[in-house]
């Protein structure tokens, strides 16, 4: 059964605090969004703030105004968190502080990049909190089905299998939260204990999923684009997988008790974006995979069991058109890397970087397998992949509990 939204004081005409996060020149956009919010939620006073980064700290400021440095004593008196300033270096931390200080009915972090004008994206993001009593709204975007393969092939199936909730794009970047959840998050000890990871997308979504909060996803139209500077595939993998694996470690006692998965309530129109597929050079991807299979075998042998290594060797010898990654094998590979990350089998950055050729091989396999499929068939194919991740979760749990059980 999907989680039903229960009323947590919906309709209370509190303030809406929206933080606009972007590299620069967001002030004009803030005024435009404020107008949009006032029109969409006339009962609520909307406050648009922009993020300002200075010396590794993030502060929220009124558009066009430089923020005055906050006093730590003032902040700790306003919020219930003890010791330090939570989320000092995170935009989410700054938003939570501001939202809790103002006792806002809803807080939202949105990207400064222009969004899909055809969708009421801001309304879709905030309405579930303000009108339907949800505590956490995860943004979901329309993208071409071949785009974001890291999400399709790893993040979505993995998060779904772990926490049992089918959030299509768990690392969306934007978010809307209710006041109770914002207060709870601000009080979280991770801000002090693990400031490197607290406030990240993966941290937030894992907290919401593992804490069994009332969550939903909102389809906000076409993807507004990457918020950060263009990174290479290895950097993206290292960053995103590192965050997700770190949260797996943190919530291990929770996800080991979850079996299967359920859909989450969705708002807006979902689906896939049509048009031209992103360019993928299959031969080059396979070259990278084959090179990895040849040269990185000693490294992979520390992480993967012999049967998987054999399967990879056989796959690397296959002709391009016959090249395939089996879903169950792929799920086990992802799980083996998660276990190696947790067990610190090798230096973590090296471990995640060594995953790159495998991931590129999986993209090549997925592109070949799905290029002729229509939307329905593609959706069924994705469902089969996610089912494989859920099926192999027993393998993950067994390896997680006895990481040395497989002795390379």
């Amino acid at each position: 059964m999907p989680l039903e939204a229960t009323a947590i004081a919906p309709g209370v005409a509190g303030e809406i605090v929206v933080a606009l996060d972007g590299p620069s020149a967001v002030d004009d956009r803030a005024a435009e969004l404020e107008l949009q919010l006032n029109r969409r939620f006339p009962k609520h006073r909307a406050t648009l703030l922009v993020t300002r980064r200075r010396a590794g700290e993030v502060a929220l400021a009124t558009p066009g105004v430089e923020p005055s440095p906050p006093l730590a004593s003032e902040l700790s008196a306003q919020v219930t968190t003890g010791g330090g300033i939570p989320g000092q270096s995170s935009a989410l931390g700054a938003l939570l502080r501001e939202g809790v200080r103002r006792r806002a009915a809803a807080v939202a972090l949105v990207a400064a990049a222009p969004h899909d004008a055809s969708a009421d994206w801001l309304g879709l993001l905030l309405a579930p909190v303000l009108e339907d009593g949800f505590e956490y709204v995860c943004p979901t975007y329309l993208r071409h089905r071949s785009d974001a393969p890291l999400n399709t092939g790893v993040i979505y199936p993995l998060t779904r299998a772990l926490y049992g909730q089918r959030l299509r794009q768990p690392l969306g970047g934007e978010v809307a939260l209710s006041l109770p959840l914002a207060t709870l998050l601000l009080d979280d000890p991770d801000w002090r204990r693990d400031p490197l990871h607290a406030g990240s997308d993966a941290w937030l979504v894992a907290k919401a999923l593992a804490g069994r909060r009332r969550i939903c996803q909102a389809w906000l139209g076409a993807w507004p684009g990457a918020g950060r500077a263009d990174e290479g595939v290895t950097e993206t993998l290292t960053r995103a997988l590192g965050l997700v694996f770190r949260e797996m470690e943190r919530h291990a006692s929770r996800w080991q008790r979850v079996e299967g998965s359920l859909p989450v309530p969705s708002f807006g129109s979902g689906g896939w974006l049509g048009g031209e597929a992103p360019r993928v050079n299959l031969e080059r991807l396979l070259d990278k995979f084959r090179l990895g299979a040849r040269e990185l075998a000693p490294v992979w042998s520390l992480v993967l069991p012999p049967a998987t290594l054999l399967a990879l060797r056989q796959a690397s010898a296959a002709r391009t058109e016959a090249f395939r990654f089996q879903d169950d094998a792929w799920a086990r590979i992802v799980y083996d890397f998660a276990v190696a990350y947790y067990a610190k089998t090798m230096e973590r950055r090296q471990l995640l970087a060594s995953f790159t050729p495998l991931y590129l091989g999986w993209i090549a396999s997925a592109v070949q397998e799905t290029q002729g499929l229509d939307e329905v068939a593609f959706e069924a194919r994705l469902e089969a992949l996610c089912a494989a991740f859920e099926r192999q979760k027993r393998y993950l749990i067994s390896r997680w509990r006895w990481p040395d059980g497989f002795n390379p």
Binding site: R279, K288, M346
Partner: protein, 240 residues
């Protein structure tokens, strides 16, 4: 005749006994020092093993790539460190025992060897750190090279590893005072040769790889990893 022989025999026996008696305190002192060294070695061995266990040295060294996975019949790093400490203490105890003898030559030799011990320990530590670090460097270079698409990745990793090993041994030899100026000069020649070889290799054979790498670092040009190079943002694959 018989009396003369008896006298000489007794005199020589007395001399031997006197000599032995003169050395007896030294021998006893040496034995005592050896016993202390054995005791200290055993205590230190247990302490080192306990500290290594508490600090999870084996796991950490494995994680950092300094040591491989545990294999049948192979020494784990913590045991190796404990053994090294044990034998060092025993060796120092033995040399200290030698100085207890009154013989000038033995004493002088032992003193010189004792003076040499700190250099020896530093050299051994440098070699161990170098050997351990070389594995981490090798793995890092190997993975980086594979992700850059360099086909001789393993060779590059191996080269980087040996470079670190050679560097560690050179520093250790210099610490021991072996080879004098020959070691730094040889090292300079080897490094110069490697840099020249790399420069030639990059200039002649790998200019495309370098160009691709630079393009990736400066995102003015599209990422060539898995997209065509002559098109813009439209249709570009984003991984996340």
């Amino acid at each position: 005749m018989w009396e003369e022989t008896q006298r000489i025999f007794l005199e020589s026996l007395a001399r031997v006994l006197q000599g032995a008696a003169r050395q007896l305190p030294g021998a006893l002192a040496m034995l005592f020092l050896l016993l202390i060294a054995v005791g200290a070695a055993l205590v230190l061995r247990a302490a080192v093993r306990r500290v290594c266990e508490r600090l999870e040295v084996d796991r950490r060294l494995r994680e950092w790539g300094f040591a491989g996975p545990p294999a049948e019949g192979q020494l784990v790093p913590s045991l190796l460190i404990a053994r090294l400490v044990t034998w060092t203490v025993l060796a120092v105890g033995f040399l200290a025992g030698l100085t207890a003898f009154e013989t000038a030559s033995t004493s002088a030799l032992a003193s010189r060897l004792l003076d040499f011990v700190p250099h020896m320990v530093v050299a051994v530590v440098i070699v161990l750190v170098g050997l351990a670090g070389s594995r981490a460097v090798e793995r890092s270079v190997l993975i980086g090279a594979v992700n850059m698409g360099l086909h001789s990745a393993r060779l590059l990793g191996l080269g980087a590893r040996w470079l670190v090993v050679v560097l560690a041994f050179s520093i250790a030899l210099e610490q021991l005072g072996v080879g004098g100026r020959v070691v730094p000069v040889s090292l300079g020649i080897v490094f110069g040769g490697i840099v020249l070889a790399l420069a030639l290799a990059v200039g002649l054979g790998a200019k495309d790889v370098v160009a691709r790498s630079l393009e990736r670092r400066f995102p003015a040009a599209p990422n060539p990893l898995d997209e065509d190079e002559d098109e813009g943002e439209e249709g570009k694959l984003h991984h996340l």
